[in-house]
């Protein structure tokens, strides 16, 4: 049963901060959405296998070799870094 408490729980898993207004707004929206899903409740899916990709294909593998032109400048996009490390507020362990 989806409700405001559930929204708060889910928002914690999703790491999105919610104000009280948000919680009630999203909970209403999501409850409405889940009504759509209810319309599928009557279908008998017991003998149906899930389909993850269509069209189905097989995985192609890559040879174990190192980039001869490695691009390691991604760190420059970071909001906080010192050129060597990414920096985040201290993790409390």
């Amino acid at each position: 049963m989806f409700d405001e408490d559930k929204v708060k729980e889910v928002s914690k898993l999703a790491m999105i901060k919610l104000d009280n207004d948000d919680a009630s707004y999203f909970s209403k929206e999501i409850i409405d959405f889940l009504k759509l899903v209810e319309s599928t409740e009557n279908i008998d899916l017991s003998k149906v296998e899930p389909l993850y990709h269509a069209p189905e294909a097989s995985l192609i593998l890559r040879k174990d070799s190192i980039d001869d032109d490695p691009k390691n400048d991604g760190i420059n996009s970071a909001p906080d870094h010192n050129g060597k490390h990414f920096i985040v507020p201290k993790v409390i362990e």
Binding site: V10, I16, V37, P79
Partner: protein, 490 residues
Amino acid sequence: MDIYKKSLTQLAALLNSKQISSKELTRYFLKRIAKYDSKLNSFISVDEDYANQQADNADKLISAGKNNFLTGIPIAHKDLFSTKDIFTTCGSKMLEKYLPPYDATVVKKLNDAGMISIGKTNMDEFAMGSSNESSYFGDVKNPWNLEKVPGGSSGGSASAVAARLSPVATGSDTGGSIRQPAAFCGLTGLKPTYGSVSRYGMIAYASSLDQGGPIGKSAEDCAVIFDEIKGFDKNDSTSNHQIDFKKTQLNLTKDDVNKITIGIPKEYFSQEMNEDISKIIFQAIEEFKNLGFNIKDITLPDHRYSIPAYYIIASAEASSNLSRYDGVKFGYRCQDPISLEDLYFRTRKEGFGTEVKKRIMIGTYALSSGYYDEYYMRALKIRRIIRDNFREAFKEVDFIFSPTSPTTAFNIGEKTSNALEMYLSDVYTTPVNLAGLPAISIPVGFNNQLPVGMQIIGDYFSESNILNIANYFQKETDWHNYIPEEFNHE
């Protein structure tokens, strides 16, 4: 010269015969953008210097006789295609100042083909939307009627091409985001078979559904772009390595046509359908019949379950794909985070818009312990059923026709407070994504002066055939040549 009316093939001829230079052509479109885009807001960023620089290079190649077919022709890219050192925002505050360090494969291929990247187009935030009203950079307007939406999520690309601000554009389609804006804007938009266009560099929304494709003035133009971007990419494990992607030949004959059977799903023309739209679609079908195609009734019995299944699967995948936006390595970061948790919570609260947050939460919920089977698993099973519907249908017919959307473009703001209604309008497009099939939307008429689009669905990897029959129709009809009044001059 009416350059803005010219097809890609015509522009290529002008450039090749040196009647116009790439510099002139590029400046021409940049001028149109500067003149008209304030009415539309179809572009998020335009870098004139960069465009002119590319045009210069193109002209050098053309003088030296080293040019390709598309060298020197401008193209607009939906702002979820990574463009190296050029802002790629996904229509979001989260990536407002993000500069990718690399080009998406689609972009690289078109750059290599010599095209001029003229700007990044507006879109629903992270491709989640059907009206381009959720962009951090503001709503996009429909050139046919500035109070109407252009469709979404590739609203900017559709609007720009419809107003002839760019000869062609790239878009992406997860649940209809190329086809529906193409339909709302009187354009031709192709969603290729899943796996035929590389997703590398295309910022992900729903990995098993996303596909990049062209939005253009005609099937012919779409074919040209599709030929450039299709093919296996070793950087994308989901791109197809078994199909031999041959060049598209638009060479359908009357004899061929007589052998082709088109299926009309009876469920699609039910009571819920808008009568006016229905009439226009039927007229188009009649036209196909007159051209010699065979028409047959088919059934797609479970199509109505596609919307909940689509939104569950897409939201689930998105909830995971968007976890990386956390203020640590790239993108937006909240001010003065006091702890790691604060960094995550506030960055994602402030960086994402409402629709994105909502879908992340739906997706998180659908995958969460205790709900996985009920929501996610069931959605995947429905996906198989819908795919099987099509499989059965394609045993009897070669193509399937449907309306692209149940309505024409609606008013800006009309559906923003009714998400469900917005979701339900994806009824014709989402089944195609779930099944991974290719489909095109072509303009087939007008209703209250707004374009109506019809969808042509084909079996896996039949883009060439789809483009052929769309092109055949467009050779005999005029709907795709209409241009919105306000933009129908230099």
